[in-house]
Structure formats: structure tokens, C-alpha cells
């Protein structure tokens, strides 16, 4: 039996041994993001100075995808400016909508491993939760996909 799986080692590592699942001191942006229908729940804490994300962490419960995705996201955005972080979130959302180039995908580094989640609409919400919360913290509404 072969598993066409999204659960590669890198993803499960981020879930089982997350780098950023803890509390941080001096966070000045804190927001809880929830997927009510599936129970995924993440509280994101960021420490932003001069528009730069100097530190960040999350707490939460939920599926491996939602937790790993948040962890990977923090890997990416810590040290970046707000604008850079938002740009990455744009890329991530584009990836979920399957509207992304190869180069852009590379910018997403490990987050790019979640690319295939796009095929499964009921899981995309999980992958997006952290990113959506990040955008909302920066005052950018998450646009609901509408055609």
C-alpha cells in the first residue's frame, strides 16, 4: 500500500517537535485563529519592532497540518519585515489556489511542501489557519475565495 501523502517527515516533525510552540516574552500582537467547523485553534504571538517581526510563537490544538503550517510559517517570517511577511502570506494563499510559479514556490521553502493540500478543499483551511491569523494581525483581511 502506497500512501500519496502530505505527511512527509518534515511536516510531521514540525507537528511532533515544533520549534515555535511556546510562549514568548514581550509579544505585542496576539490573536487567536479558529476553524470552528473542525476545531483547529491557534493563538499566534508576535513581537514586532519597527515593522520587523523580531520574535514569534504559537499555542494551539488542531490537526498536524494546521500546527505544522503555523510552525513553518513562523520559521519563515521571524526576522522579516511586516511587508515581507505579508508577501509570503500572499504567495502561500496563491499556492493554495494553485496560482504560483516555480520561483515563487521556492521562496516559500518548507511551506511549499503543503502545496498538494490544494487538491483537498476540506484541508486547505487547516493549512491556511496560521497565515490567515497572521494577516489579520496585520490588519489585512483574508479574502474568501470567490469566483
Amino acid at each position: 500500500m502506497e500512501n500519496k501523502t502530505i505527511y512527509t517527515e518534515i511536516i510531521t516533525d514540525h507537528n511532533v517537535d515544533p520549534y515555535h510552540k511556546h510562549e514568548i516574552e514581550g509579544a505585542n500582537l496576539i490573536l487567536e485563529g479558529v476553524n470552528p467547523s473542525c476545531g483547529d485553534d491557534i493563538t499566534l504571538s508576535l513581537k514586532v519592532e519597527d515593522d520587523v517581526v523580531v520574535d514569534g510563537a504559537y499555542q494551539g490544538v488542531g490537526c498536524a497540518i494546521s500546527q505544522a503550517s503555523a510552525d513553518i510559517m513562523l520559521d519563515l517570517v521571524i526576522g522579516k519585515t511586516k511587508d515581507e511577511a505579508l508577501r509570503l502570506s500572499d504567495l502561500f494563499l496563491n499556492m493554495i489556489r494553485s496560482e504560483i510559479t516555480e520561483e515563487e514556490l521556492e521562496e516559500l521553502e518548507e511551506a511549499g511542501l503543503l502545496k498538494d493540500i490544494a487538491h483537498n478543499p476540506s484541508r486547505t483551511k487547516c493549512a491556511v489557519l496560521g497565515w490567515r491569523t497572521l494577516r489579520e494581525m496585520f490588519g489585512v483581511e483574508f479574502e474568501y475565495e470567490e469566483e
Binding site: P121, S122, R123, E147
Partner: protein, 406 residues
């Protein structure tokens, strides 16, 4: 029958040369492509769509949402979320009446309903008016079934909360100028619900151009299976409306004390949805797009002209509504002197001509124009001249069969 017509009719397995199906306004026949799309769905992709994680369920979700997208494009809505799947036009009106009507129409408000309406777009408003102590006002037509925008202008007031009007009457076939009605309604701060049950299958209907707030129609009158209908609603309105049916899928979260509800359109689609029906409607729209709405309009207009002219020649037969065939859109309702419509339809049925007799679910209209029961022949693009000829031959014998000599 030319080659095009022979091929066209082959698409519809039920049709054959032993009868003329002229009850298309009641329900349409289904092309093989629609029947097969549904069959195919159940043979390859059937699952409960929402929240499913495995492949079949994902496939069912995709098919369902693809159907929604195709409806959205077909009526040129601006958002997919503005398309709510219902069972039929009747349920769509009831959804708006229960949800919008019971919440946003208040005591003393006015509801304007045209006298042309099918019971499905009249009774729900009678019910809301009664429940909310609102005033129900009828927009009457003249003896030919005409309602002008100026008639609405005279009736509407600042207290009018909603205008309910059909785009094409299922009795007289006339089109109302919905765009003008919408403009007037909006000037007075009212919303407008347009009944598209008889228009959407037979002409290009563009909700953005018409600027209606709600549009309702049924799949089964436009080549799709029974059991699937559509409510289009502007997203601002749908968003603020409370749910109608409560149950699975339409929630965000539930506790013993209450619930929060999903986004539109899911908020209005309680319980397991009808994916098979939606897939059928999608295939029906594909079929229409493929032969093109222009071709449908052209064929139906030609057939209407031919039928109108030949029926006009029959003695003792009176056609109801406009004297211009262009104002009939495939619907020709008529009386034969001394002959009760049930007898007419029975005799015609015996001769393989399928027409409908009765009040056509529009008793107030029929009473208003003085024909409480009538017979109706209604045309679709897959009809052919031969169907009309059969109708004419049969009509000519009706009075004799009933013992009136001629």
C-alpha cells in the same frame, strides 16, 4: 424535419413521432447528456460532499461547486456565493419569504405582488403579509396581461419593502420589463424578487444587468432533473438574512444553547445537498450553452409564430394574451367555445398531443382576465413543426368530438 432537427431530437430519448410534447412550461424533457451526467456521478463520484476528506468526497464536492460556478456564469452573478441550491423555484421563493420576509418586512410595510404570478410567487407573500401584518398590494395587468413600469410607479410607496414579479408569465407568455421594475423598486428602497422559472430556460437572463435582488428558477424546466432549483440573491442581502432550514452543514458551531452559522451560500443549504441534481443542472447548462441560447430563442420564436398563426385560423378558438406572437415566448393559452379545457386536453391527449388544462397555478390571474380555466400549449426548442401540425389537426376535431357539430 431537417437533419439538425432529427439530430436534436435524438438527444432526447423520450421524444418520438407518436406524440407531440407541448407541456414544456410545466416541465421540460431531458437530453441524454443530462441523464448520463447524473448516472455517471452515481457510478463514479458519489459521496456526501461537505467536510469529506477522502477522494470520492472531494470529487463530489468539486462537482457540486463546479455546478454552482456554472449557474453563476449562466445568469452572470457576480459571486459564486450568491447561488443557493434549492429544490425548485417554489422553495426558493419560500426561502426568501421565510428568511428575508419574516425578518425584514414589518408591520405596516407593503409587499407588492403582480397579479400575473404563479401561486408559488404569491402564496408565500400572502403568508408573510398575514404573519407580519404587512399590506399586500397587487399590481394588476390590463386585459392583455400588460403591466407597465408606470403602473408600478403609481402603486409603490416608501413603505414598500418588496416587489415580487415574474419575468415571463406561465399563462400568457408575456415578458415584464424587469430592469425598469428593479430600478423603480430600488428608488423606493424596496427589494425586488424576480421569478425566472419561465424566463431562465428560454432567454438570456443577466442578474447584473437586470439588477434584481433575488432571482428564482427550477432546474426541471430547463433540461435538468427534478429536485434541483436555484435561488440567486445579492450577497449583501444573503449575508444579513437569517437561515431558513436548520440542520447539518449550515452551521459554524453548535452548543446546547444555540448555534452560529456558516457563510453564504452554505448557510442556506441545510442537510445533505443534492449533488446528483446539481450535476444534472450543470450538464443542462452545458447543453444549452452548446446549442446556444440564441439558437433556442430563434427556434422557439419560429415555432411560436407558426403555432400562433395556425391556431388563429381555427374557428371558435380564442388565444389569451397578446395578439403579437412575439409576446408569447412559446406559451399559447387558449379557449375553445363551449368546450371545457379538461375535455380539450383529454381529447388532445388521446391524439398524442400533450397539453395542460386548468388554472396553471395562477387562479387570481385567470379570474382577473376572465378565463378561470384554460388550455395551454407550450413550446421548447426541441419541438418541430410536425408537433404543431399535430396540435392543429387535433384542435380542429375537438368540438366535433364533444358533440358540437363543428
Amino acid at each position: 424535419m431537417n437533419d439538425f432537427e432529427m439530430n436534436l431530437r435524438k438527444d432526447f430519448p423520450i421524444l418520438n413521432d407518436s406524440f407531440a410534447y407541448l407541456d414544456n412550461a410545466a416541465t421540460s424533457q431531458k437530453p441524454l447528456s443530462v441523464i448520463q451526467a447524473v448516472e455517471d456521478y452515481y457510478k463514479t463520484s458519489n459521496a456526501n460532499p461537505l467536510r469529506g476528506i477522502y477522494d470520492l468526497s472531494v470529487a463530489a464536492t468539486e462537482k457540486y461547486e463546479a455546478a454552482r460556478l456554472s449557474v453563476k456564469k449562466f445568469i452572470n452573478a457576480s459571486k459564486k456565493a450568491e447561488i443557493v441550491f434549492t429544490r425548485n423555484a417554489t422553495e426558493s421563493v419560500n426561502l426568501v419569504a421565510y428568511s428575508y420576509g419574516m425578518s425584514f418586512i414589518n408591520e405596516g410595510d407593503e409587499i407588492i405582488v403582480s397579479i400575473l404570478e404563479h401561486h408559488s410567487n404569491m402564496l408565500p407573500w400572502q403568508n408573510v403579509a398575514k404573519a407580519k401584518n404587512a399590506t399586500l398590494k397587487y399590481l394588476y395587468c390590463d386585459e392583455n396581461g400588460v403591466i407597465n413600469p408606470s403602473d408600478l410607479e403609481e402603486l409603490i410607496t416608501d413603505k414598500t419593502a418588496l416587489v415580487a414579479i415574474t419575468q415571463v408569465s406561465n399563462v400568457i407568455g408575456r415578458t415584464n420589463d424587469i430592469k425598469s421594475f428593479a430600478k423603480i423598486a430600488h428608488e423606493y428602497g424596496a427589494v425586488i424578487l424576480c421569478d425566472g422559472a419561465q424566463s431562465v430556460p428560454h432567454m438570456k437572463v443577466d442578474v447584473t444587468d437586470l439588477d434584481v435582488d433575488f432571482l428564482v428558477f427550477s432546474g426541471h424546466k430547463m433540461l435538468a432533473p427534478m429536485g434541483i432549483g436555484v435561488l440567486y440573491g445579492k450577497s449583501e442581502l444573503l449575508k444579513k438574512m437569517p437561515p431558513f432550514l436548520y440542520g447539518g452543514e449550515m452551521i459554524e458551531s453548535v452548543t446546547v444553547d444555540g448555534a452560529t452559522f456558516a457563510r453564504i451560500p452554505t448557510k442556506f443549504e441545510a442537510g445533505t445537498v443534492n449533488v446528483g441534481g446539481a450535476v444534472g443542472l450543470h450538464a443542462a447548462i452545458d447543453y444549452i450553452n452548446n446549442i446556444t441560447m440564441d439558437e433556442i430563442v430563434k427556434r422557439e420564436e419560429e415555432l411560436t409564430k407558426y403555432a400562433y398563426e395556425r391556431m388563429s385560423e381555427i374557428k371558435h378558438l380564442t388565444i389569451i394574451g397578446s395578439e403579437d406572437y412575439k409576446e408569447h415566448h412559446g406559451i399559447i393559452t387558449f379557449d375553445i367555445d363551449d368546450c371545457h379545457p379538461h375535455d380539450v386536453a383529454d381529447i388532445l391527449g388521446g391524439l398524442g398531443v400533450d397539453v395542460r388544462a386548468g388554472h396553471h397555478c395562477a387562479q387570481p390571474l385567470l379570474k382577473h382576465i376572465g378565463h378561470p380555466v384554460t388550455t395551454r400549449a407550450s413550446i421548447a426548442f426541441y419541438n418541430v413543426k410536425e408537433d404543431i401540425d399535430r396540435l392543429i389537426d387535433a384542435l380542429k376535431g375537438v368540438r366535433r368530438t364533444l358533440g358540437y357539430g363543428e
